[in-house]
Symmetry: none
Subunit: 161 residues, 2 copies
DNA sequence: AAAAGGTGCTTGCTTTTGCAAACGCCCAGC
DNA sequence: GCTGGGCGTTTGCAAAAGCAAGCACCTTTT
C-alpha cells in the first residue's frame, strides 16, 4: 500500500527525485501554484497535465493514471495482453472479449505457470449477476443504464485497484 | 491511420457498437451534448470523462488514451498467436481456446484491419477528415469455442473465487 | 395527422481548471 | 542591518469543462 491520492504520489515521486516543486512545474510545463494545489489534492489535474507531470518526473504515465484511479490496475503484463491490444486485425470489442477470457484463465490458474502441467480445463466464465457498481465521479445522476446486449459486447471485469 | 482525433475515434467505436450518442452518453455517465461536442472535437474531455466513455464503450481505456496522445505508445509486440503460444501462465487447453476465438474473430473481420495500430502519439494534428468507417462487422462467429464466450454472448468473468 | 419517441446539435448557465501575480518564510551574501 | 533569491502557498481571474433545457429533423405508432 503506497499512497492514497494522486497528489501524494506525485509529491512522493518528486521528493524522491530531489527536485523542488518549482523545478518540476517548470519541467512539466505547468505553473508552480497549480502543481502545489495538485500535490495537496486541492485540484484535480486533467489528463494532459497528468501526462506532462509524468514526463517531468520521468515516470510512467500509466503509474500516475492508476494512482489517479483513472486507469484500472492491470495485472502484470505477460505479452499476451500487449499483443492483443496491438493487434490491428481485431476490433476493440473483440480485443476486450479476448482479454476477458485471458484474464479469467489467469485467474483460474492463480498466476501459476502451468504450461507443462495441463490444469483442469474448466469452463472459463459463468454468468454473474451484474451489480451496477456505479462509481460516480462527481454528481452523476442515478440513471440506471441498461446493458443492451449487442452482438459482440462484453463486459469489463471492473477490476478495482 | 484511420482517425486523427480522439473524437473521431470515439465516434467510430460508438457506431461500430451500434449504439446512439445518447445511449453512450448515458452509459458513460456524461451528458449527450457534451459527448456530441467531444466527438466533433469541440471539447477536449478530461481524464475522468475519457475513462467513463471507455467504460461505456467497453473498449480498453488504453486505446483511448493513446488516441488522445496522452499515453505513450506501447511497443507493438505483434503476433497474438505467438504471444499466446508462448504464454507460460496458460494451459495448453486454454491456449487452444483463446486461439480458436482469435481465429473466429479474424474470420469475422474478413482479414481486414479494423482497428488501427496506435500511431505516434504526438498531439499536433488537428486536421479533421471525414473517415467513412462503414465496414460494419456484423457476421457472427460460426463456432468460436464452446467454452467461455461464444462471441455473441460474451461472458462476465467477475469470478469471486 | 398528431402524438410519441428517436436521432444529433445548439444554447445559456454553473463549476472547475490552470495561470499570473502576488504573499510569507527561510537562508545566503554584499 | 537589508537585498536578493530560493522555497511552498494564497489569491483573483480568464478560459475551458460539463450539464439541463430546448431545438430541428426524422420514424413509428395511435
Amino acid at each position: 500500500m503506497r499512497v492514497s491520492s494522486i497528489g501524494e504520489y506525485i509529491k512522493e515521486q518528486r521528493e524522491q527525485a530531489k527536485i523542488s516543486l518549482r523545478q518540476l512545474a517548470s519541467q512539466a510545463g505547468v505553473s508552480n501554484p497549480y502543481l502545489s494545489q495538485i500535490e495537496r489534492g486541492v485540484r484535480r489535474p486533467s489528463a494532459e497535465i497528468l501526462q506532462q507531470i509524468a514526463k517531468g518526473l520521468r515516470i510512467s504515465a500509466e503509474a500516475l493514471y492508476v494512482q489517479a484511479g483513472i486507469l484500472e490496475d492491470r495485472p502484470p503484463d505477460s505479452g499476451v495482453r500487449m499483443a492483443v491490444l496491438a493487434a490491428p486485425e481485431l476490433t476493440e470489442r473483440q480485443k476486450q472479449v479476448l482479454l476477458e477470457i485471458y484474464d479469467s484463465f489467469r485467474k483460474e490458474n492463480d498466476g501459476q505457470p502451468v504450461s507443462q502441467a495441463p490444469g483442469p480445463a474448466k469452463k472459463a466464465a459463468k454468468k454473474a449477476a451484474k451489480a451496477p457498481a456505479k462509481k460516480a465521479v462527481k454528481k452523476v445522476a442515478p440513471k440506471a443504464a441498461r446493458a443492451p446486449a449487442s452482438s459482440t459486447t462484453p463486459s469489463r471485469p471492473t477490476n478495482p485497484s
